[in-house]
């Protein structure tokens, strides 16, 4: 298994990289074609949310409210009240930070059928600085009852997550990546609430989400060459948490590393730690944004800076397993 996975990972690393917003735009058009209830709502973000073709094809079904995120989310809830299925699209930091109370009251608490599409999350807007980085969203969104939080990792999963969100009657938060990612291999069909095991392993579990999944896979290949057998899980559903898969990972591998392009305080790492601390405590490392405002730099620079790139994940895994110190498990 590990040899095959290492080979496929090497292929993926050399493979073409994709901006998931392209798949998002294509899938939204597909959903508009097949279901007249589908509408897009945006905040002057026709370009950055990749909605130009949607606008040409379905001009009436693109509601551009202008630079007004509170209205954008509230109007999304109102459209849902009128029987529509609104995909509310905006850059992650503004959708979540600016309109958080609308997300809480109008979407989650009112339990409206709104799909919140957070474009360019994490540090996709690297050089623009922390005002434009969406790294608090997991922490904010997962504290809201009724909210499903999804962060697909590649184009295929983006499409499948959108199809699922569209048919699900309730609030969904979807992170749509801009930072380019490879097609994951193997492809495991998206299942809401279920983490996908991309590589089995016995020594440690690497949990990725969104852009960090491919980095975790690449790290597992490096580790395999060093004799560390890492399991890799794609936690594309941040909420509800796949507790069963976590319990198995903790029991079977004994060590867990979470990796996210988000703040670890309250993020996926926190969610995993909160659960396992009570049920199956194991040594953990939480990789992600620390308690500091993100500096400027490219997404790749910031991934390195915060230790969520392939090298850093492998390093953390060696530390946790004792590998490289003559004490590999």
């Amino acid at each position: 298994m590990s040899t095959t996975a290492a080979a496929s990972t090497a292929t993926a690393a050399a493979a073409e990289l994709h901006d998931c917003r392209k798949t998002f735009a294509e899938t939204l058009i597909e959903l508009a074609e097949t279901d007249p209830r589908t509408v897009a709502v945006c905040n002057d973000s026709v370009g950055s949310s990749n909605l130009k073709e949607f606008q040409q094809r379905f001009p009436d079904r693109l509601v551009n409210v202008g630079i007004a995120e509170q209205l954008m989310v509230g109007a999304g809830a109102g459209l849902a009240n009128g029987g529509r299925v609104p995909f509310v699209c905006a850059a992650a930091p503004f959708l979540t930070g600016r309109a958080l109370e609308q997300i809480k009251a109008d979407v989650a608490y009112s339990r409206t059928n709104v799909k919140l599409c957070a474009m360019s999350p994490g540090f996709a807007y690297g050089q623009l600085g922390p005002t434009h980085h969406g790294v608090e969203d997991f922490a904010w969104l997962r504290t809201l009852p009724e909210m499903v939080v999804l962060a697909p990792a590649d184009p295929a999963e983006t499409r499948e997550a959108m199809l699922w969100a569209h048919q699900y009657d309730g609030p969904v938060y979807l992170r749509i990546g801009r930072t380019k990612v490879p097609d994951l291999a193997p492809h495991v069909p998206f299942e809401a609430g279920r983490a996908a095991c991309l590589r089995d392993g016995r020594d440690i579990t690497l949990i990725g989400v969104g852009t960090t999944v491919s980095a975790a896979l690449a790290a597992s290949a490096k580790l395999a060459a060093e004799g560390v057998d890492a399991r890799v899980l794609n936690f594309s559903t941040v909420k509800p948490l796949d507790e069963e898969t976590l319990l198995a990972a903790a029991a079977e591998t004994g060590r867990i590393i979470t990796v996210e392009e988000a703040n670890v305080h309250g993020g996926l790492g926190s969610a995993v730690a909160e659960f396992l601390a009570a049920r199956e405590p194991v040594p953990m490392k939480l990789l992600g944004v620390r308690d500091e405002f993100t500096p400027t730099g490219s997404p790749a620079f910031l991934a390195e800076y915060f230790g969520i790139d392939t090298e850093a994940i492998a390093r953390a895994a060696r530390e946790l397993t004792g590998a490289g110190q003559g004490a590999a498990a």
Partner: protein, 297 residues
């Protein structure tokens, strides 16, 4: 706990609405007034029993809410989610008491349920919850939420080519929230002709007069400059409210803003126009005196 509608409430409400619409203005006003004071009395009892509530803003809005539910809105208490219903959004969610009282009078749930107002685990929370109270369209409480949601409702109706109307009632102090002006700009840009904003202009917010806090005047000019048709209406004149709320509007008209001139605490002499009654609770003696006034008037 799930609140169930009163049997036959839809037919009864539709019959009453037909009668009121067909009645001569003086008779229509007299019957609406009777209803509005009954709704106020129930609200007074709820607040007195709960020891909490917002009686001032409830009573300033009482006549508007009554005219809407009994003479204007096409709604079905037994099918609260009927797709073609007119929408009403109480953006000033702290006036939940008057909304619950009106919904119960209309038969969305039995009036006996009003006794649970703000009790532990009651569906009748201090601010309305659509998932627990049939007839509530969206959960409000934090201010400045209702109007943006109403814009979405009106866009949905327009996309459907439906004639259903959308009404949203805001407080006046609430207009200090910027989200309302985001909604106003977009409503006018999108020509949401069958969207009506009603401002409960009682001139007080919780701690002081609006004009002493962050003044709104000239409020009519503000709305007009945002592209709305603006009407001033006496918020306690039943016939004026009925006519203003049922003014025919086309799907592509400008949206309409009714600035309803109201008196906070309207209906009880010692509560009227006093800022402290924003959320003061009447004592037993005051409740009895208020009940008497609301019965005599």
């Amino acid at each position: 706990m799930v609140l169930a509608p009163v049997p036959s409430a839809t037919a009864r409400l539709a019959g009453l609405r037909r009668e009121l619409r067909a009645a001569p203005p003086a008779e229509r006003a007299a019957r609406l007034r009777e209803l509005a004071y009954s709704i106020r009395r129930s609200d007074l009892e709820m607040i007195s029993r709960a020891g909490q509530g917002h009686i001032g803003g409830d009573f300033s809005a009482a006549d508007i809410v009554t005219v809407l539910y009994f003479a204007v809105l096409d709604v079905r208490p037994e099918e609260p989610e009927w797709a073609e219903r007119d929408r009403f959004v109480l953006s000033k969610g702290h006036a939940a008491g008057i909304l619950y009282s009106a919904l119960a009078h209309a038969g969305f749930f039995p009036e006996a349920e009003l006794t649970t107002f703000m009790e532990p685990l009651s569906p009748l929370n201090g601010h309305p919850n659509r998932r627990k109270v049939p007839g509530v369209e969206t959960n409000t409480g934090p201010l400045g939420h209702g109007f943006p949601v109403a814009v979405g409702m009106a866009v949905a109706a327009k996309l459907d080519g439906s004639s259903r109307r959308t009404y949203v009632l805001t407080g006046d102090g609430e207009l200090q929230e910027g989200s309302n002006w985001e909604a106003a700009m977009s409503a006018s840009q999108q020509r949401l002709g069958r969207l009506t904003v009603i401002v409960d202009r009682n001139r007080f917010q919780q701690g002081a007069a609006t004009e002493e806090t962050s003044g709104l005047d000239p409020l009519d000019a503000k709305w007009a400059s945002f592209g709305f048709d603006v009407r001033a209406v006496d918020g306690h004149d039943y016939e004026a409210l009925y006519q203003a709320l049922s003014e025919e509007r086309s799907l592509d008209d400008r949206p309409l803003c009714l600035i309803a001139d109201t008196i906070k605490g309207k209906g009880v002499s010692f509560i009227e126009d006093r800022v402290e009654w924003h959320h003061k609770v009447p004592t037993a003696e005051q409740t009895a005196a208020a009940f008497e006034e609301l019965t005599a008037r």
